[in-house]
Each structure stands twice: as C-alpha cells, then as structure tokens.
Symmetry: C2
Subunit: 404 residues, 2 copies
C-alpha cells in the first residue's frame, strides 16, 4: 500500500461536530486502500468570526497579527478531525504548518508556498498514521505564521500531493463537481465528468469558486490529478484531467462568472512606452491581482487605461492609483464598483471562429450591455453591469446548448 | 529603561473586544516607564468552547490533539491584543510558544516548563516592541504542542519573568488582590497588601484561585516578586513578598477553601513497608495530584489509607486504584465525592500553639463535622462535607478576627 491520496476538506464539510464525524468516515474508508493524507480548512464560520474580532481593532490590522489570528481556525479543525478518527479506530495526528515546515514567502495574507518538508508526513504514513495538516497557512523563514489567502487550503493540498508524489488530490467540498455554470443561476447546468486543467484554470480564475486557481496552477505544474467531489453525498465528482480533452466534446465547456468586481479607468493618460508597467507594477507590488486589462487606441498621445480588480482590493487599489496621480499625470480617475465578469471557457474554442460573435449576439438579444471584452485562446471574458449577470449567464448557457 | 516588567492578563481581563482595548491601555501606560513583556490567557469562555467541541468526540480525547486544540485560544487573544496596541500606537508582536521555544515535558495537558529561549523576546524589547506571549502552552522537544494545565498562564508569566530577570511579574485578574478569604462567602474579608511566598503557596494550593500554585513555586524558586492586581479597576493589588513578614502581623493570614474534592479510602490494606509508595506512585505516574493524605494506625497488620484528589481527576484516579486492587489486596474502596477542604494559612502559626484547637472549637460550635485533618508548619487543612464550607469559613474568619 504505497499509493498516496491527499484528501482536502473545506469549511462547510467540517462545519459542525456531526460533519466532522462524517468526514472521518470518508477518511477511514479511503485509508483502507491507500495511504491517506488529509488537509483541512477551518470550520465554516470560524474564519469570519476571527475576522470580525480583528476588525474591532481597526479596518487595517497588522497583517502579521491578522495571519497569526486567522490561522488558528485550521488548527482547531485538524485536532478535532484527529479526535473523530480516533473515535472510529483510525490512527491520526494533526500537524500545523510549523510542524511540517510548510515554508512560504513573507507576504502575509497572500503568501506563496516555497517548500514542504515531507519527512514528518512520511514518518506518520510509515507508522500507519493519517496525518491531518492545517491548510491555508505556512511559516516564514523566521517562523512567523502566514496565510495563503482565501481558498488557500486547496493549494496546501495540491502542494502536499506534489511533494509526496500522491496518486491524486481529492478536493471535498459542498458541491458534487464542476458544472457547465452555476446551477443556482441556470437550473439546466450539467455536471462535467472531466475538465481539462487549462479549462479549469480559466474557470477557477473567473470565479467557479469550487477550487482555488493557484491550486490548479500547482496541479498543472506538478502534474497532480485533482478531483472535485462532495463530502455530503456519494459520487465521483469531476476529474481535472491532465490529458487534452476530445475536441469533439464541444466548443464551450462552461460559463464562469464573478460578481463584486471593480473597474478603474485612468482617463487621458500619456501613451508613452512603459506606461502599462508604471501602472501595473505598483499594483503588483501591493499584492493586488489585476484581472481584465484594456488599453484604448491612442488619440493625440493620450489613451484610456482600464483594468478590473476584486472589490476586496478596493481600498489598496485606490490608494495605489491616487499616489500615481502626479507621476502619471492622467486627466481623470473613473471608478465603477458595480461590475461583473462572465467568461466562456473551452479548449475547443481554439480552432473555431465565431464563438465570440455568437456570444455577443446572445447578449445583445437579451439587452445586456457589454462594458469590456478580453479574449484568450480558450476563454472569452465579458465585463458587464453587476445587475445583468443572471440574464447574461442564462442567455449564454442556452445559446451554446450546455444543457445538452 | 532596562527594567523589565512582565504583565499577565487572564481570561476575564480579555473577555471581550472592549476588555482587550482596556488591557492595551494598561500595557501602554506601563510601557512608558519599563520594558513590558505581556503574557495572555485565552478570552474567557474560549477554552470551554474548545473543550466542548473536543467532548463531542468522546470523553477521553487524545491528549496530544486536545492540547493542540485548546492552545489555539491564547494565539487568538495574543494576536488581538497586538492589534489593540497598534491601534493606540504601541509597537507590539504576538509570539507563540513555538516561536519563543518554550520547551516543556511531554506530559500533555499537565506539561512542565523546561526552558525558554529569551533571545526572541530580548530582540523584540531591543527594537522597542512589546512582545505578547501565549500563556498556558509550550512545545515538546519534537515540536508537539503541550499545555500546562488550567491556570498555566501564570506559570508562563513567572517563567518568563525569571528567564528575563524581570523586576516584577504583575498578574492581572478580575479581583483586586488577595483577601483573608473569599469575600463572596465572608463579606468582611480584608484585602492583604502583602503576603509571603510561603503563605501564598499554601493559599494557592488550597484554592485561593487567584494565582496558580506552580507559578508561586516558580516565583519562589527564582525570587521573582509577583503582584496580583485587577485589570478592571485601579489599585496596587497584593504583593507576594520575598521577605518574611513581620511576625506581629497576625497568626493567621488567610483562610483558603476548595470545593469539588474527592476522598478515596483503601480500607483494610496490608500495612507493609512501601505501601504508601505502591499507592501514590501509580497516581503520580498518571499525573494525578494527590492532596491530603492520612494513614490510620495499623490494627492486626491492616490499615486504612485515605487521600483526596480534585474531582476533575475522578475517572483517572478510579481507574488507577481499581487496577491496584489485586496487587494491594485491600478489603474495600470507599469513595466520597462530596467533600471540601478549608485551610488556615499563616507564617505566624509556626511559633504559636493553640491555633488548631481554636479552629476545631470554632467548627464544633458551628456543628461542622471534621472528616480529616492535616497540618504543616504554616497551614492547617480540615476536610469537611461539601455542604458545610460556607459555615466553616465564616466561623473561622470570625474566630481569628481576620476582619480587624
């Protein structure tokens, strides 16, 4: 029994004592045919409870202390799951990031994993113990606690799967797989049995919410097969496959969308070489992820530069951009905080023209106003008003016959 | 400013966001004239919440996991207090036991401190940072988290004060000092300005509850002056002095009492050499603190061996003693779970006879039935029925005129 499976359980899967007991049963069953390593998130609600406590000491608490605070949630759920496993006669031990030397960058709240020491984990497996590892967190070189950002437990799981050369990483959540789009918006949405890494990368980045984008990147880089499945009901979930999908499988695999986006337009900025870097560099330095970027054609040496960010980065983005006002000498800063993104994703798009026009036609017929467009090889992203999201997703799902 | 003060704040002092903000003000004020090191307990209620979670996975969860679980409470309060200090412009950083290498024995839930690495703490002080250290916990040589038992944060504070050669260790709590007895039982109880270490040792051991006995032992050993005071109201508290108190100061300093005790009697045990060790050795190995011990005069080579333990050790004590049944060959095991202890404490007792008889007279006049008696140089402990505690304490307080 040398095959290793990593199982990651999210917050809703561990939301109550009863849920933790159910998860223990899933782990027990898997441990009968594989060496199981478990990665856990905090019990649902716990991270928000801790964030609320932090916010009572100002809107911008020290990131070092914030990470030290919110990383306690996973420590709680890891210890509880170990106890639940003991209760059903499975040997298990909880491990913190510090205990397995999960080293990260110093970038608090958005740290990136640098290395994992697999020795303690392997020692546990060798002794027939299920190691339960706190997701979402790491430590810096000097031993300070860091966190990986929301959803970071997925990344922890995939990183450990890569380090331990696991056969597969199973991401347990409260949905039973990846759908063509959100079934709460489009009831006809269909579960996909497989999805390619590339498609998943685009889906996750665009808010499929089932798995974190960085986790998929990691999985892609280290060739770890990842499966997304439900801890609430049986089923095989959706396998994020390493192989290219059959091209005949359809042009568009799914539709992702994301609300709570913001659009910043620097109006009348000088169109000189390096201007994009002058804007995006400081944002990147501040750990702000810029998403869609559009630069208009230059008129009289001036241009409009527009980008979107997640609403949670509103304060820091506005601060950074206002500091750039003097050096960039733009005319106006326009901020639109009520926008959303809708994306068509599919490896089949590559070789087919006409996807974009078909999408724009569907949106136009449903009177959805398009604010921005950005395309890649396997994705078309359309920025629209927040209020039009449901209409847009339904129209596109229907137009590309994803329910068939 | 090279003088160091350690300030320890208990759970009620940190019970809410508002209380944490008040504590931050106390720390700020102290930090203006001394190098302050802070040690924190978990927010009140938090440890019980975590214990309740653990209990849903059986009555006897793995001690390793139990410690990993409940040690998260202090991590939360340490980070929050750091944030509260930042808010009022005090530089501060939280440190976990692991981060300052607070090494302990492997005895989960009742670990003892072995050593503390003062370097990280000193580095923080040198940078003008207030280090906030998680109380109650440590790590083993192999990096597992341990806890020191209830009230262990006091021990952490004194250990750090000793290591850092602090001028004083201030234990902030919800009472304004040490009283002649519990004011809730005897309203005339008086606050003591000073109490000797020896008296305090006896008081704490007998349930004065204000400070943990091991902390006083540590303070005694390393000659750290300790002050007990309130974080809720101003005042100088009670100083636990290193010097002998003036003998004229009274014969009895205070009356301590402790409910929730249990009495075990091994009836008809063979009175052979080593019998006490044969009984107490296994209890000590199981980390059970045996308190009052009485062995009766031997009759026909058989004797009765009686001891008391805290009710929280009931399950483990009964288990240990039942295992001894065969080897010790006693006739009966009698367990009385409704007893309490009342102790008269005072260094002045040493040179004065008649204290005991005066005490017994007062109890007799108030119809308190005495079950066991145990005396030391500066203490007389009387085991009585649980229901008589209040009557007994009032009678003794009055008889020794402690309200004067």
């Amino acid at each position: 029994m040398s095959n290793i499976i990593v199982q990651k359980f999210g917050g809703t899967s561990l939301g109550t004592e009863e849920r933790i007991a159910s998860v223990a049963k899933i782990v027990k069953e898997a441990s009968q045919s594989a060496n199981v390593i478990v990665v856990v998130s905090a019990m649902s609600g716990e991270t928000n409870r801790l964030i609320k406590l932090a916010k009572s000491f100002g809107d911008d608490p020290s990131k070092r202390e914030f990470d030290a605070l919110i990383s306690t949630g996973e420590k709680v759920s890891a210890a509880l799951l170990a106890m639940a496993l003991h209760q059903i006669d499975v040997k298990a031990k909880s491990y913190t990031a510090s205990q397995i030397s999960m080293k990260t960058t110093n970038s608090y709240s958005k740290a990136r994993i640098l290395e994992v020491d697999g020795k303690k984990i392997q020692d546990a497996l060798d002794e027939g113990i299920v190691p339960i590892i706190t997701g979402f967190q790491g430590i810096t070189e000097s031993g300070d606690v860091t966190t990986l950002g929301r959803g970071g437990s997925d990344t922890t799981a995939v990183a450990i799967a890569a380090q331990m050369k696991a056969e597969r990483c199973d991401i347990y959540t409260d949905v039973d797989g990846i759908y063509t789009t959100d079934p709460r918006v489009v009831p006809e949405a269909k579960k996909l049995d497989t999805i390619t890494m590339e498609e998943m990368l685009e889906m996750a980045g665009q808010g499929a919410k089932v798995i974190q984008i960085r986790a998929v990147e990691f999985a892609n880089k280290y060739k770890v097969p990842v499966r997304v499945l439900s801890s609430f009901e049986p089923g095989d979930g959706t396998l994020i496959s390493l192989e290219e999908k059959d091209m005949e499988n359809g042009l568009v695999s799914g539709i992702a969308f994301q609300k709570d986006q913001m659009k910043y337009t620097l109006h009348g900025v000088s169109d000189t070489p390096g201007i994009a870097y002058a804007i995006l560099g400081p944002l990147s330095d501040a750990n702000i992820e810029v998403d869609v970027i559009v630069q208009n054609v230059s008129v009289n040496g001036k241009t409009d530069f527009t980008f979107t960010v997640s609403k949670e980065d509103e304060i820091s983005t506005t601060t950074v951009i206002k500091k750039l006002k003097d050096s960039l000498n733009f005319d106006d800063l326009l901020i639109d905080s009520n926008i959303a993104k809708v994306s068509l994703v599919g490896v089949g798009m590559r070789s087919h023209a006409g996807i974009a026009s078909k999408a724009f036609k569907a949106l136009s017929e449903n009177e959805v106003n398009i604010l921005m467009i950005s395309t890649s090889e396997i994705k078309i992203t359309i920025v629209i008003e927040d209020s039009s999201v449901e209409t847009a997703v339904k129209a596109l799902h229907n137009s590309f016959e994803l329910d068939k």
